[in-house]
C-alpha cells in the first residue's frame, strides 16, 4: 500500500482517493485508495461482492462516490457520466460486448465516429487505414469484412478493444476479459494487452483468475469486503498469497474420493440439433453418465452446450438421436415425465429460469416437488408439511434468510443459488444436469455448492456438469468431455486432464 500523499503526480493516470460508496447499509467501497501508473497494467482482484464492479463503475463515470474522489492525471476529477470519462481518455470493455449484429467488424469499429467523404458517405479507405494502423499497434490481423455475428467471440473482444482505441481512449478498463475465452485465446489476449501497454496505454482489469493476473499485471490490488487489503507489484505476489488475501482464510479444496462409477444412468446416442435455418448446433453427440460419477462438459461458450442441455431436459427439438434415463427411453417425453423418472436440472440462468424471483423462497423451494405425496394430498397443498420441509431443507443447505415467505429476490446471489441447488437435489434424483452451478456465486458459496455436488455423487448420483469455468471442471469432474462446434472433440479422464490438452480440444484441435 505504497500510496504517496495527494500531491500532484502526473505519472498517475487514473486512481481513487478515499472513495466510499454505500448502498443502504452495505458499504460497497470503503475508503479506497489506489493508483494506476501511466503505461502499466494494473489488476484488481477480489471475490464476488468485494466491490470490484462498484469501483469500476465509479472509475468509468457510471456511478459517483459518496465520499472521496477520482484521480485523473494526478489531479482530482469528477466524471459526469461515461461520456465525460471517455473525453478524459477512459474507456471500458464490458463483459457483454456492445457491438451491433448485422454490421461488419469495420463498420462496428468506426460506428458513430465514421470518417466521411463527400455527401456524408463513409470513407471506406480511411476507415481501413485506421483499422490497419490499430492492427499494427495491437499486433493482430483481422478480417474486417466479417459480419459481427459470424466473428468468433475473441475476435469480437479484440474489435471492442480496438474500438476504444479508435475513439481515442488511452486507459482501458476490462471487466473479466478472459471469462469467455479458451486458454489459447487467453494467451493471445495477454500478448495483445502487453503490446498496448508497451505502446504507452494504461490498462486496468478485473479478474478472479490468479494465473492470468500473475501473467499479465504489473501491479495487483486486492479488494475484500469493499476495502483495499493489499496492493503489490507482481514480483512480490504469488498465487497462494493472493488467494489468502482475497478470501481472508485458506479454503480447503474438496477432496474427491476415487469415483466408484456403476451402471450407466444417462445415455445419449447420436444427438443432433439443427435450428430452423439449418444451422447445426449439435452433431452426433454420444454421451454416457454412470452412477456415482461427475462428467464435465468443457467448451468455449456457444459450442453446443446450450443445445445439449435443452435436448437432455426435453425443451429443445432434437433432429436425431436417442436419450435413455435409467434404461427408459426419454427421447420424446416431456420434462415433467423426465423429472418423475429421476432427472434434475440446475439452470444456468438463475434469475430467469432457475428461480422465480418474485415468488416466495418457500415457493421456489417446492416448485416441481409440490405434487409429491408428502407435500400435497388430492391436489391440495399440505401447508404445515410444506413449511416444515422448506425450513428443514434450507437449514440443511445453510440458506441465510429472515423468513421463507419473503420473495426469493430478497436473497443474495449465493443464497439464491443454494435454494436452487437444495431444490434440485431434494428427493434424491438419479441424474443431475448442472449448468454453470456457481455462476455469480462468491468463493465460499462456490466451495459449498461444489461439496453438495460431490456428496451427491458419493451417494451414487450421476452428474453432468456443464461449466465455462475450467477450474470448476477440473476440480469436480471424473471425466471431461470437450465440445467444439457442436461435436465431441475429445474426452479426458481425471488425473491426466491437463489444461493445455483441454484447451486444444476446446479450439477444435484433435488428440495431439
Amino acid at each position: 500500500m505504497s500510496v504517496s500523499s495527494s500531491k500532484l503526480d502526473p505519472s498517475i493516470r487514473l486512481g481513487a482517493q478515499g472513495v466510499t460508496r454505500r448502498f443502504g447499509a452495505l458499504v460497497a467501497n470503503d475508503r479506497i485508495d489506489f493508483r494506476v501508473t501511466r503505461g502499466s497494467i494494473h489488476a484488481i482482484v477480489g471475490g464476488n461482492g468485494a466491490g470490484k464492479s462498484t469501483l469500476m463503475r465509479i472509475l468509468q463515470g457510471m456511478d459517483r462516490p459518496d465520499e472521496g474522489m477520482v484521480i485523473v492525471d494526478g489531479a482530482p476529477a469528477v466524471f459526469l457520466g461515461p461520456a465525460d470519462a471517455f473525453d478524459k481518455g477512459v474507456g471500458m470493455v464490458h463483459q457483454e460486448f456492445m457491438l451491433v449484429p448485422g454490421l461488419t467488424l469495420l463498420e462496428n469499429l468506426v460506428l458513430a465516429h465514421e470518417p466521411t467523404g463527400a455527401f456524408g458517405a463513409i470513407d471506406r479507405q480511411a476507415a481501413l487505414a485506421a483499422a490497419s494502423d490499430l492492427e499494427r499497434q495491437a499486433g493482430v490481423r483481422l478480417d474486417w469484412d466479417l459480419a459481427e455475428e459470424d466473428a468468433p467471440i475473441h475476435v469480437r473482444q479484440i474489435v471492442e478493444i480496438l474500438r476504444l482505441l479508435y475513439r481515442g481512449a488511452d486507459v482501458l478498463i476490462l471487466d473479466e476479459p478472459t471469462a469467455v475465452l479458451a486458454p489459447a485465446q487467453v494467451k493471445e489476449l495477454i500478448a495483445l494487452l502487453k503490446k498496448l501497454r508497451d505502446e504507452g496505454r494504461t490498462i486496468l482489469f478485473i479478474s478472479h483468475k490468479l494465473d492470468e493476473v500473475l501473467a499479465l499485471a504489473d501491479q495487483i490490488t486486492v479488494l475484500r469486503n469493499g476495502k483495499v487489503v493489499a496492493s503489490l507489484p507482481r514480483g512480490e505476489a504469488d498465487k497462494a498469497e493472493l488467494a489468502r488475501l482475497m478470501i481472508g482464510e485458506i479454503l480447503v479444496r474438496p477432496e474427491l474420493r476415487e469415483a466408484s462409477a456403476g451402471e450407466t444412468v444417462l445415455a445419449a446416442e447420436g444427438l443432433t440439433v439443427r435450428d430452423a435455418r439449418g444451422r447445426v448446433g449439435l452433431s452426433e453427440v454420444d454421451l454416457a453418465v454412470r452412477k456415482g460419477e461427475i462428467v464435465g462438459i468443457a467448451g468455449v461458450a456457444g459450442n453446443g452446450q446450450d443445445e445439449l442441455a435443452s435436448a437432455l431436459i426435453g425443451l429443445g427439438r432434437l433432429s436425431a438421436g436417442r436419450i435413455t434415463l435409467a434404461g427408459v427411453d426419454i427421447t420424446s417425453v416431456d420434462l415433467a415425465r423426465r423429472r418423475s423418472l429421476g432427472l434434475s436440472y440446475l439452470s444456468p440462468d438463475r434469475a430467469a429460469e432457475g428461480l422465480c424471483l418474485a415468488a416466495s423462497i418457500a415457493d421456489n423451494t417446492i416448485a416441481g416437488h409440490h405434487r409429491r405425496a408428502d407435500l400435497c394430498k388430492h391436489g391440495v397443498l399440505r401447508r404445515n408439511a410444506i413449511r416444515q420441509h422448506v425450513d428443514a431443507l434450507l437449514d440443511r443447505y445453510m440458506v441465510k434468510r429472515s423468513s421463507s415467505s419473503l420473495p426469493a429476490a430478497s436473497l443474495s446471489g449465493g443464497n439464491q443459488q443454494k435454494v436452487a441447488v437444495a431444490r434440485e437435489l431434494d428427493g434424491d434424483p438419479t441424474f443431475l444436469l448442472a449448468c454453470q452451478p456457481t455462476r455469480g456465486v462468491d468463493i465460499l458459496g462456490i466451495a459449498f455448492i461444489h461439496q453438495c455436488l460431490i456428496d451427491f455423487r458419493d451417494r451414487g448420483g450421476a452428474v453432468l456438469l456443464i461449466s465455462e469455468e475450467l477450474d470448476e471442471l477440473l476440480t469436480l469432474s471424473d471425466r471431461i468431455v470437450v465440445l467444439y462446434d457442436g461435436k465431441v472433440t475429445g474426452e479426458v479422464a481425471r488425473g491426466d486432464a491437463g489444461v493445455e490438452q483441454i484447451g486444444r480440444l476446446m479450439l477444435g484441435g484433435g488428440r495431439a
Partner: protein
C-alpha cells in the same frame, strides 16, 4: 404478456396489503375528481357524501349496490383467473354475451322443467358456451403464441354482433319489435333476496365462487402452478409444469366464469337476453381484477366500489344538480390510477 399478469397476480396473501393497494388509487382518484368538481362549482365533500349515502345509506341502497356488484365480481374473477396464468384475457365481455344468450335460450325453451333442474341447466349452458368462446384464443396463445389481447378483443365484437343477429332473427320473441328473446320461464328466474331490489341468488353464487377462488389459488397444487406459470413461465417450464396446457385450461375457466356472469345477469336481473345486454361488465371486470390485484378480497372490494359508483350515479342526479358525467369521470379516474400503478410495476419489471 406474462409480465402484465404477474403484477395482477402477486404472491401476496395479506388482505391488508391488498386493501392499501386498492385504497391508494381510490384516494388519488377522489382527490383528482374533487378538483374537477370544485372547478365545476360543486363542493366535492358534499358530492362524495351524497355518493356514499346513495350507495350504502340504508338496506335498499345497499341491496342495489350489491346487485350492481354481482356481475362485476364475476367478470373480475373471470379476468383474474386468466391473468393469474399469464394470459391477458380481455374477452370476458364476449363471454357475458354468449353465456347470457345461452342461459336465456335454455330458460325460455325448456319451460316444462322444475327450477331445481332448469336453473342449473341454464347456468351449465352458459358455462359451456362461455368456455367454448375462449377455446380458440387459448389454443392460439398456448400453441402458436398468438397475442391473446388481440384475439380476445376481436372476439368481443363477434360475440356482440352474433348475439345481436340471433335476437333479431331466429331467437326474436314472437310479436316483439325490439331485439330481445322471449322472457325465461318463471322457474328459470333466480330467487330474489330482498324484493323489490333486483338483488338475487346470483350474488350468493358470485360470493361462493370468490371463496372457491381464494381456496383454489392459495391452497391447491393447480393454483400454485398457475401462479408460478403466470409469474415466470420459463421457471415453471423448467420445473416440469406444462405451461401451455395450463394457459388453455385457465382460458377455458375464465370463459366459463364469464359465461356464468352472463347467465346470472340473464336469469337474475333481465329475465331474458336483449341486444346491448351488458353495459361493459367484461371491461369493468378488467379494472376490477387489476384494482383487486388478483386476490379474492381485492376483487370483492373493487367490485363493490364500482357497483357503488354505478348505483349512486344512477340516482345522484335526481337529488342534486351533479350530472351523471361526474360519476363517470370518477369511475374513469379510479381505473386510470389502478392501471397507472400497474404500468409502473410493469416498467420496473422490465428494467429489472
Amino acid at each position: 404478456m406474462s409480465d402484465h399478469a404477474a403484477s395482477a397476480a402477486p404472491p401476496t396473501r395479506f388482505p391488508w396489503a391488498n386493501l392499501a393497494e386498492i385504497l391508494t388509487p381510490l384516494l388519488l382518484a377522489l382527490a383528482a375528481a374533487g378538483v374537477v368538481l370544485a372547478v365545476a362549482g360543486h363542493n366535492p365533500f358534499e358530492v362524495y357524501w351524497l355518493l356514499a349515502v346513495e350507495s350504502f345509506g340504508g338496506t335498499r341502497r345497499i341491496a342495489a349496490t350489491l346487485a350492481a356488484s354481482t356481475p362485476l365480481i364475476l367478470t373480475g374473477l373471470a379476468t383474474a383467473v386468466a391473468f393469474r396464468a399469464g394470459a391477458f384475457n380481455v374477452g370476458v365481455e364476449g363471454c357475458v354475451f354468449v353465456g347470457g344468450l345461452a342461459a336465456a335460450w335454455v330458460g325460455f325453451s325448456f319451460t316444462g322443467l322444475p327450477a331445481v333442474a332448469l336453473v342449473p341447466l341454464a347456468l351449465a349452458a352458459a358455462v359451456v358456451v362461455g368456455a367454448f368462446w375462449m377455446l380458440v384464443p387459448g389454443l392460439l396463445k398456448a400453441r402458436l403464441d398468438v397475442d391473446e389481447v388481440v384475439t380476445t378483443l376481436m372476439l368481443n365484437f363477434i360475440a356482440i354482433s352474433l348475439t345481436a343477429y340471433l335476437v333479431n332473427g331466429p331467437l326474436l320473441a314472437p310479436g316483439s319489435a325490439n331485439s330481445a328473446t322471449p322472457m325465461v320461464a318463471e322457474a328459470a328466474r333466480l330467487p330474489k333476496l330482498m324484493p323489490p331490489s333486483t338483488l338475487n341468488a346470483g350474488f350468493l353464487i358470485a360470493i361462493a365462487l370468490l371463496v372457491l377462488y381464494w381456496w383454489w389459488s392459495n391452497r391447491t397444487a393447480l393454483g400454485f402452478e398457475t401462479r408460478i406459470a403466470g409469474t415466470n413461465p420459463r421457471f415453471a417450464t423448467a420445473s416440469g409444469i406444462d405451461v401451455p396446457s395450463l394457459i388453455i385450461r385457465m382460458m377455458l375457466l375464465s370463459g366459463a366464469i364469464g359465461g356464468v356472469a352472463g347467465g346470472i345477469h340473464a336469469l337474475g336481473t333481465v329475465g331474458r337476453f336483449v341486444s346491448g345486454f351488458s353495459p361493459g361488465y367484461g371491461f369493468t371486470g378488467i379494472a376490477v381484477a387489476l384494482l383487486g390485484r388478483g386476490s379474492a378480497i381485492g376483487i370483492l372490494l373493487a367490485a363493490l366500489l364500482f357497483g357503488a359508483l354505478t348505483t349512486s350515479g344512477a340516482t345522484i342526479q335526481l337529488f342534486s344538480d351533479v350530472p351523471i358525467e361526474i360519476v363517470n369521470i370518477l369511475q374513469g379516474m379510479v381505473m386510470i390510477f389502478a392501471v397507472a400503478r400497474f404500468g409502473w410495476i410493469f416498467a420496473r419489471r422490465r428494467r429489472a
